[in-house]
């Protein structure tokens, strides 16, 4: 798949702020188009179970796994374990077993912002085992200096629109991951395309290559 350069929505990216908002998504439509090319597609949602998302994604993929890493993270005020073995155990518990894959699309939402580089690498290796050629990851990386303390629950409105609610004050420094960081830490995946949004997020689509 030909790699495309980031598409900029607006030169002046606005910042995230508490409250409910919607944003125009370009990457969602992109990954859904790819999903339509697959028969009996499977989707892994790393976020929380949100009814409208399950309904929406169910139209494209009859098999969906919800791992709810968002709530696992929320249940740990200190964040995910830094210890490698502890983190691997946590992922083994929360992520589906290999026999439930391979998955064609992984919805990571904004989870990667809450991981350190080493944690992202461990997650990437786990996810690679659940992928097949050209499986995709949909991720939102913050471009703002600060981000919410907890991951955001994104709600799919339609193929072009995501809604989200930030119910806590911002106050956590954003890691400001760049494309090169994602390619380095998620070694089994490659950034296929990305879209810069006005709300301070950059949408990334990464593809798995065996």
């Amino acid at each position: 798949m030909k790699k495309t350069s980031p598409q900029r929505w607006n030169d002046a990216a606005s910042q995230l702020s508490p409250g409910t908002a919607q944003h125009h998504t370009l990457a969602l439509k992109y990954v859904l188009r790819r999903l339509l090319e697959r028969r009996h597609a499977r989707v892994l949602d790393l976020g929380a179970a949100i009814g409208s998302n399950v309904s929406f994604v169910g139209r494209y993929a009859p098999k969906l796994y919800v791992s709810d890493l968002h709530n696992t993270l929320k249940g740990r005020p200190g964040g995910l374990p830094k210890d490698r073995k502890q983190f691997e155990r946590l992922l083994s518990k929360d992520l589906p077993s290999d026999d439930l894959g391979p998955f064609d699309l992984i919805l990571a939402w904004d989870l990667l912002n809450y991981l350190g580089g080493e944690q992202m690498a461990i997650l990437g290796r786990h996810l690679a085992r659940l992928c097949r050629q050209d499986s995709l990851i949909f991720a939102l990386i913050t471009n703002s200096k600060e981000m919410p303390r907890q991951p955001i629950g994104f709600r799919i409105i339609d193929t072009d629109t995501l809604s989200y609610t930030i119910d806590s004050d911002l106050g956590r420094p954003s890691p400001l991951f760049k494309e090169s960081d994602l390619n380095r830490w998620l070694a089994d995946f490659e950034v296929e395309t990305s879209f810069l949004l006005r709300n301070g997020f950059q949408e990334y689509v990464l593809s798995f290559s065996e």
Binding site: G51, S55, K63, V66
Partner: protein
């Protein structure tokens, strides 16, 4: 005294017609209830709707019936039923012939197999959702002309995607109102 006199005129009024043969009564809202202080270990089966307010550990096999796990219900079991509604906590796999609904207060850890799955806002769920296997079973069942009677043998009267709220249906056609189209 009670003997009819022979010269008494015979009543000319027609006798009322016999009552019609009994027909199946429509299902009432009443359901069997497992109360909050009751704990059952083993298999629960039967032919009536069930509301679980207590605890069940084992298996719930109520094919063709509706099962509700109430707010105080705690179930560690697989549930097989026509329609499954979760308001409490369940650890186990759910097999709904028609639909599975997890209400806002519901928490489920396990796998869901049903043609329609509805997760209300606020519900907690971790596991897989399989709408394909359920739809295939439904289709196979309808081709055989058999009603859905058994657990896991999905038979639904509503077409996939016909749910009133947040329908989930197999990816067999272009989603309504969706600009994307299947090649």
């Amino acid at each position: 005294m009670w003997k009819k006199k022979e010269d008494e005129p015979i009543a000319t009024q027609p006798t009322p017609p016999p009552p019609p043969p009994s027909r199946p009564q429509p299902r009432t809202a009443a359901a069997a209830v497992i109360g909050p202080s009751v704990t059952i270990r083993g298999e629960v089966s039967g032919q009536e709707d069930l509301r679980i307010q207590g605890r069940i550990e084992g298996k719930v096999a109520l094919g063709g019936q509706d099962v509700t796990v109430g707010k105080s219900g705690k179930v560690q079991a697989d549930i097989h039923a026509k329609s499954i509604r979760i308001e409490g906590e369940v650890v186990g796999d759910l097999y709904g012939e028609q639909e599975i609904i997890i209400e806002a207060s519901g928490q489920v850890t396990g796998n869901l197999v049903a043609p329609r799955v509805i997760l209300e806002n606020g519900s907690r769920f971790k596991g897989s959702i399989d709408m394909e296997s359920a739809a295939q079973l439904t289709q196979a069942r309808s081709l055989q002309g058999k009603p859905g009677t058994g657990a896991g043998h999905g038979a639904t009267t509503a077409p996939p995607g016909a749910a009133a709220r947040q329908p989930t249906s197999p990816a067999t056609s272009k989603p309504p109102g969706d600009p994307l189209s299947r090649p």
